[in-house]
Symmetry: C2
Subunit: 231 residues, 2 copies
DNA sequence: CGCCGGATTGATCAGTTTCAAGGCATGTGG
DNA sequence: CCACATGCCTTGAAACTGATCAATCCGGCG
């Protein structure tokens, strides 16, 4: 899956560069800094597949620039996006031997990656690294548990409110939120149609809770009222 | 939360008894067998809380007899059950310091338990145990990912079909399935009302896909047709 | 300028929920 | 031993939320 992206720039291998725009306590960096683990960088074009469901886990990834969606499909094409991965986020870390979701670049996206085998090797002797693997998987589990509550029990408006607060927390810069994903992606993340997402956002705009600079550039005007709508 | 169950039998401490009716490759047993880790046994009455969301993680549990539901609540009481835990299943293993779901006994239930602190201690030096913690959390994550797809994108009938196949796989004995949980629990697991669950089951019964011995005693007559309904 | 993908908005439809009634076991007290 | 209460389940009818179908609209770009 790395070789099929022939038009993408060749991966540049370099000796453990620390990420710039990434939280301080960064398990990925800790892992990548361990002896024997080589971090590379790689770019994907819009909508390009990074790995597919069922494929063997060759690498573990960290978003550097851009955004990634991971999802599952039903036979007839219905899609459930499990998570959006933004700069600094680690994805593709599966404990088993194959990926259980498909990962795609949402827009032009750059990732760092480490070989899973070298990770395994280090984890086999380094308890700190083994602990980090557990912590990262546990973080994904926590998100999934919260998201099950959303999918199973929240109303459309509550889902959208939760989504906006999550994105605000994760990617707000200077009071402005620049959503990398389209309405369909949001719908497939929230278990809604794109029309329902659009209607909910319009309603929030009408109520003055948010303002659109453009369809994907949003300023939250009243986080408290949004939080009230969130159940 | 252990001390408040005053009418339950006192925990009996005993030196690492292997579980009888439990899979061979049992990480919990591996963990419980490690030096310094003491396994106890404990029983809970129907609907008794085992731990609450937000409480510190004192123990990790394994169901011996009975069944456990773990769930989250919204402010107004809407409930999402994340998983049912049946004999042999491990639950309550959170990487953080507090539980993120509430656990309750569904009926009269017996569990084995080990102190989380002793687990931590062993994991700090034993890579095998650290790896097992990761594997168990990853298994929960896999289930949560599958369940997000169900909650977000499957129809009522598809949800019920998936549920029946899951329970058939996990607790069918002699072709018969004895569900430990009520219709409301099933609904709160599938993101449906209990009436919708009941209607779907009746419909499956009408179509001859299953037969009720009683409301909770079910025989699947045609797993293939059920799998077809599952999407 | 005109195209195109994405977004919005409107009208109708359908699936699920809600509300309500009744049935069927189980257990308890008279 | 029967009457009755209780909890759980089923079934029906009406209401409602969100989906579907369809028509623009808007902004960016060739």
């Amino acid at each position: 899956m790395l070789t099929q992206t022939i038009t993408a720039p060749a991966a540049k291998v370099f000796p453990v560069p620390r990420a710039q725009n990434v939280p301080a306590a960064d398990e990925f960096s800790v892992i990548a800094t361990c002896a024997g683990v080589i971090a590379s960088e790689f770019s994907y074009r819009k909508d390009e597949e990074i790995y597919g469901e069922g494929e063997p886990c060759e690498y573990v990834y960290q978003v550097v620039r851009g955004a990634v969606r991971t999802y599952k499909l039903l036979n007839d094409g219905r899609r459930q996006i499990g998570a959006f991965h933004l700069p600094g986020d680690v994805f593709g870390l599966d404990a088993g031997s194959t990926h259980r979701l498909t990962a795609e670049a949402i827009g032009e996206t750059t990732v760092r990656l480490v070989k899973r085998r070298s990770l395994e090797a280090v984890a086999g002797s380094n308890v700190q690294v083994a602990h980090n693997l557990w912590t990262m998987t546990a973080r994904d589990l926590r998100h999934a548990e919260d998201h099950m509550l959303l999918l199973g029990r929240k109303t459309a408006m509550e889902k959208v409110a939760t989504f906006l607060l999550e994105m605000d927390r994760r990617l707000a810069k200077a009071g402005m939120m620049a959503l990398p994903m389209c309405r369909r992606d949001i719908g497939d993340y929230l278990g809604l149609t794109l029309e329902t997402v659009s209607r909910a956002l319009s309603q929030l705009s009408d109520q003055g809770i948010l303002v659109f600079s453009s369809a994907r550039q949003i300023v939250l005007r009243n986080r408290q009222r949004l939080a009230d709508l969130d159940a």
